[in-house]
């Protein structure tokens, strides 16, 4: 398969990382983190891709017809579920930060004191 397909996850990863580094708002940062995470979905799907093959679902075509790798697709499902719940947890943390400090700008947050 064409190696150019691996450039897309690399681009997604780098652009998400750029967003995280330059972020001035925690909600924006969490959004960038999901972009980084989505690069892993695309990477896993590219690894399992086969030219000319269909989905690994044999409801409407017979068993034995060419199909892509089902294992990486199952991994992507795990990946998406974990990503969604981690996002929910991080947003709850951001809410708490905003309640206590009144800001979501990492630059304006003082270091935590005991």
């Amino acid at each position: 398969m064409n190696h150019a397909a691996f450039l897309l996850p690399a681009w997604l990863f780098v652009i998400g990382l750029y967003g995280i580094i330059t972020s001035r708002h925690f909600v924006h940062l969490i959004g960038c983190l999901t972009v980084v995470q989505s690069s892993t979905y695309v990477l896993l799907l590219s690894v399992g891709y086969r030219t000319g093959a269909g989905a690994p679902i044999f409801a409407d075509h017979p068993v034995g017809s060419p199909a892509v790798d089902p294992v990486v697709q199952a991994l992507v499902l795990t990946d998406i579920v974990v990503g969604a719940t981690v996002t929910a947890l991080l947003l709850a943390l951001a809410l708490q930060v905003h309640k206590r400090k009144g800001t979501l700008d990492p630059q304006r947050l003082r270091p935590l004191r005991p």
């Binding site: 974990v82 969604a84 709850a92």
Partner: protein, 228 residues
């Protein structure tokens, strides 16, 4: 083993699963068969990551607000509540029914067509937000009391473990299928996979609903006399 060796191994594993999955487990969606049978134990861990994240988010929000306040609908503080337009109220009611039915379809056909407990659970959980849009906050909270949602979510997550332990009680390895496999292509086929998918869907949909309730409760103001 070099990179080419790994590639060959992964290719042959993919071919083996695609070739024997349907005849071994009587399901046509190989991804679901991998998730809920061949890799069932991993999916159990995945479900508990979701469960732990929901508990973490709920704990973070509830400890700040107090346990009692989240048991009933709160009020919006200074900002005025925009009235729902008739179009939103009218549009979200049929959409609610359609989304719920589609979510149940995705869950029940897990072993046949694309979808499964996680995907269908997410659809059903999101459909509960249409209840909020179409009927308003107070009705939405009355239909979905947190006192009911919390134990139902725990039931969904626990049922997966019970399915695994039942196999051990019968003397087989964890999560071994005990039910008849049925006819390939039928909704009731592939043994325990539909049951586990329904349990996962219950856990995921109520988990989403609990998160939505907690996040929207954050926008409400506690009543006078509530513990802060």
């Amino acid at each position: 083993m070099g990179a080419s060796g790994i590639r060959t191994l992964s290719r042959s594993l993919c071919d083996i699963l695609n070739a024997v999955g349907t005849s071994e487990r009587h399901g046509t969606n190989i991804v679901t068969l991998v998730n809920f049978d061949y890799r069932g134990f991993d999916t159990l861990g995945e479900e508990y990551i979701l469960f732990a994240a929901v508990i973490g988010a709920v704990l973070l929000m509830r400890t700040h607000r107090g346990e009692k306040t989240s048991a009933r609908p709160g009020k919006v503080s200074e900002q005025p509540v925009p009235l729902r337009t008739d179009a939103v109220a009218l549009g979200s009611r049929p959409a609610l029914g359609l989304t719920l039915i589609f979510g149940m379809y995705v869950v029940l056909h897990a072993q046949l067509t694309p979808g499964g407990g996680f995907q269908g659970g997410a659809i059903i959980g999101s459909a509960t937000l249409l209840l909020y849009l179409g009927f308003g906050y107070r009705t939405w909270r009355q239909v979905m009391p947190t006192a009911v949602l919390d134990p139902v979510e725990a039931f969904g997550a626990g049922a997966f473990v019970v399915a695994g332990l039942a196999a051990m009680a019968a003397g087989a390895p964890f999560l071994t299928n005990l039910l008849p496999l049925g006819k390939t292509g039928s909704v009731i086929s592939a043994g325990e996979i539909p049951l586990i998918n329904i349990a996962v869907a219950i856990a995921v949909s109520t988990g989403f609903a609990v998160l939505f309730v907690e996040y929207l409760e954050e926008t409400r103001e506690p009543d006078a006399g509530d513990e802060e």
